[in-house]
């Protein structure tokens, strides 16, 4: 659903008084104080027709949410699970059996430092987050260890923008000019891989600049870089 930003909010702003009847679905950045809904961080206040309210802010730290696709780095190796750093307050755990076709006998052999693309299956404030490397039906579906390439960090809002449709101008312009693959984690980790190392380097250097470029500027930047390559 397309979100429409209503206005810019600062912490402590009163958003709506709760109605007597009806439904309000509250997202991130909104806090209930008595009978009022109050914003608790700066950002764009967004609402939808169906009564959802949230604040979209620019944040570097990631707070896990169920269903998010994230990119993590393996930090620990245990017999039953891996510890994965997903840029969140806590280390997430990835069960050894959470891969497509994994059994007790044939388990993936990941090392500390490897990158994985995974899905968040549990994110509760009192329990450490959990990940799996399959989609809901148990298929690999692009999740799993990522070999080669290069990863960089960005803000969570820019990662969300890279995932959004229509694609941001910088990404579509790069995609037209160069051949590469991309894995975007909503936690603000992006992985780039291409057959040619130069392409990988160009994309990792150019993509983060796109956060604050207009469409026309982004196309110009890409054009200039690609022409300087030849």
């Amino acid at each position: 659903m397309v979100a429409k930003p209503v206005r810019i909010a600062a912490p402590g702003d009163s958003v709506v008084d709760l109605p007597e009847k009806g439904e309000v679905r509250v997202g991130t950045g909104i806090h209930q104080e008595g009978n009022h809904l109050i914003t608790c961080r700066p950002g764009l206040l967004c609402t939808t027709q169906s009564g959802k309210v949230w604040v979209a802010g620019r944040q570097k730290r990631y707070i896990p949410q169920v269903g998010d696709c994230v990119l993590g780095v393996i930090t620990d190796k245990h017999s039953e699970n891996y510890g994965v750093d997903i840029n969140a307050p806590f280390v997430a755990s990835l069960p050894v059996l959470g891969f497509e076709g994994a059994t007790r006998r044939s388990r993936p052999n990941l090392q500390v430092g490897d990158l994985v693309y995974a899905r968040v299956t549990a994110a509760d404030r009192d329990v450490d987050p959990e990940l799996v490397c399959t989609d809901a039906s148990g298929k690999g579906a692009g999740f799993g260890a990522l070999a080669g390439g290069q990863a960089f960090r960005c803000t969570t809002s820019f990662a969300a923008k890279l995932m959004s449709q229509p694609q941001p101008a910088i990404l579509s312009a790069l995609g037209k000019a160069l051949q590469f693959e991309l894995a975007v984690g909503l936690n603000g980790h992006v992985w780039v891989h291409s057959p040619k190392p130069t392409t990988t380097i160009i994309v990792t250097n150019t993509l983060p600049k796109g956060e604050f470029l207009s469409d026309a500027q982004a196309e110009l930047v890409v054009k200039r870089i690609v022409s300087s390559m030849q």
């Binding site: 930003p5 810019i8 912490p11 402590g12 806090h31 570097k60 730290r61 604050f212």
Partner: protein
Amino acid sequence: MEYVNPEGLRQDGRRPKELRQLGCELGVLAKAAGSATFEMGNTKVLAAVYGPHEASNRSAAASGATVHCDYAMAPFSTGERRKQGRTDRRSTEISAVIRNTLEQTIITELLPNSQIDIHVQVLQADGGTRCACINAALLALAEAGIPLRDMVAACAAGYLDETALLDLNYIEDSGGGPDISVALHPQFDRVVLLQMDNRLPLETFETVVELAIKGCKAVASYMRGQLLEHTRMLASARGFDKL
């Protein structure tokens, strides 16, 4: 020494109920989750927020995030160069004051088992550093996207030459008169910090606190404006122009 001259002006040319020039900048450090500088006249402080990350003492943070605050004065911040005392009594006390104020402002129960580190560094000291530190830390927390109940703004007021003075500078601060620091949640009109050195008669105490609260509200509206401006700038850079 004369703190208010017969024309009713202070030593730095301000009127008794006038704030110093305010200034701030958000997102000054690339590594920190949130950072800000805040200026009140010649006082300038830098705040950096790291986290939330896993608490070093998880059992203490079981019901809500713990806030760690580290206040330090740069050796070059005062007129006379000083050796940095990280463990002196004054900075321990100010750290506790800042931590206490921010703990009441952050919605800690949303982030159990975690810890938020706030580092404030005084770059230039000209009186009212603890208030400037609270203001800078709040802006840094907001920039980091940490859930806050409300803005919090702090301001000091004093009483010299039988006049209530707002936002004391260093000379007025060392004048030996009473000095009251107040921090306020402006939306709820809730006083979260009230500190006084020296004594004051009850009637004058009330007028001075009143003045400090008015000062807090002015500082809060300035900070809110700057925060909205910063957010608007980020939003328009991302293609939301029409707000």
